[in-house]
Symmetry: C2
Subunit: 328 residues, 2 copies
Amino acid sequence: MNLSTPTDYAEEIISGNRAALSRAITFAESKKPEHQEFAQKLIHDLLPHTGKSKRIAITGVPGAGKSTFIEAFGLFLIHNSYKVAVLAVDPSSKISRGSILGDKTRMEELSKEELAFIRPSATGGSLGGITARTFEALLLCEAAGFDVILVETVGVGQSETLVKDITDFFLYLQVAGTGDDLQGIKRGIMEMADLIFLNKVDLFDAQMIQDSKMDLHRALQFLPKTDSGWKRKILKGSGYSNLGIDEVWQEITNYFELIENNGFLSELRQKQKLSRINDYLEEMLLQKIRTSISIQEERLKWEKQLHNNEITPYELAEKMLEKYFHST
Amino acid sequence: MNLSTPTDYAEEIISGNRAALSRAITFAESKKPEHQEFAQKLIHDLLPHTGKSKRIAITGVPGAGKSTFIEAFGLFLIHNSYKVAVLAVDPSSKISRGSILGDKTRMEELSKEELAFIRPSATGGSLGGITARTFEALLLCEAAGFDVILVETVGVGQSETLVKDITDFFLYLQVAGTGDDLQGIKRGIMEMADLIFLNKVDLFDAQMIQDSKMDLHRALQFLPKTDSGWKRKILKGSGYSNLGIDEVWQEITNYFELIENNGFLSELRQKQKLSRINDYLEEMLLQKIRTSISIQEERLKWEKQLHNNEITPYELAEKMLEKYFHST
């Protein structure tokens, strides 16, 4: 493969070249300015080919069975002739880089399929940066013709908000009987969820599952309506035993039918793009400040003042902005 | 209370006026520019009175018993004549605002104590914003003379990274027997932790606790050394039954002795301030862009191009920066 321009890459990606897609995502994730520039030109060229996939967030606490579910769900989709990309987002690995995603045995069957593409998303840097990078990977996968893009979050907490921001549908995996332990995070997550899948039903007795499902139904009643007009659903099944997977897809299909018809999808996609602007602004600003000679000249003096409690971090930020930027 | 200037507030806060402290934190959390300006002036005035507390992060998954532990630990400190402030951070409540912190029964005993001050931290806005706001609340509490500031995270995930950024000591609460379920997040958290407290030992049998402790010890061996030169510790006990609380304080005291002597504390405090600068830069930049007339004039045109897939979010961000800012 001897590709030298963004246009070359664009053609290869559209024609389904996986190696070109992989390398393009690597460029988008790179911190080198020349890679970034290349990736951004490429994404620009590919824009007309984006927007056609279903973008689905899949989350759940560790132990909810995400990998197994995604493997089963991905295989189901592939057997129905859909092309599936899986992007895994792990903001917590900022410190212990790649500890989770290094696990090569995850989704073993799915990763062998020709119609599947599995890619951990780069971490590092700011949170906005993670979302922006995942969004770029998502656009590249769309241009490559994937019909369904599953964005998996690893861990719980802030990462849900991040993927919620760039996806159309939010699927939350829950396990029966863990409701009590998770009371702290349940409400926030449930508000984001379009579908809650009670996973691992084969491991619990029927009564416990029924109880959990009723608890969830009760909890749903107290939530505000979704912006999309969709009524949140609860399904049960098992990724491991392949139970209920088809129903999940049926609901997702129903959801997209609804939001395509009521105009919400178009609105949402524009919102997804708009929210990325702030991510980029932040990155660009920090980059400009790092490379500004006049700021770097003053920096040591300012940092000393900061150390001596003569100025606050807020005041230092103000000085930097004043020094560097002039409004028009 | 009739306080009109930042200087008035500063005096009241230093003299221990709780109402003034509360209101100052509210100003710092406010999105109104005039409140922000007031708060920043106040913080500037108070700077010489900051830096003297022990800043302690307390985290753990929901169900680990954080509230009960903090109540017990806070009361222990107060009985030893320390003044204790508790700041609770909950980034996930961006959507369901205050659902968790609205729970008034939390830390009931502690909240009655004269030497204690309990305050949920405002959410809303960017993640950087949350950290900046919590840091400001922390500085204000320090100026008010609190000896120990406990920064509690609600939920798990990204919030740990946030509080790690503004605290000196990281205490992680773990419950015996949940190790397996939490494998996904354990390593990242354990790397951040200075002390792991195996909580709720009164609920489990001795063997299970021993097993959990050994698992933790084994896991610790594989972690890189801490930057502070501190050796990570594991303790066990119970917030509910007041077991092991004094040992936690003993280890914290040992830790601070170490980092005061080896210079790490001074280094760390400067780092805490430096990392806030980016938070403020981001906020200020977004604020400037929102209020830039020339940008707002072009904005609709740009958003249409974005919608029509003619430009990428990255390119739009570039246009905004070019329009508004001129490097010097």
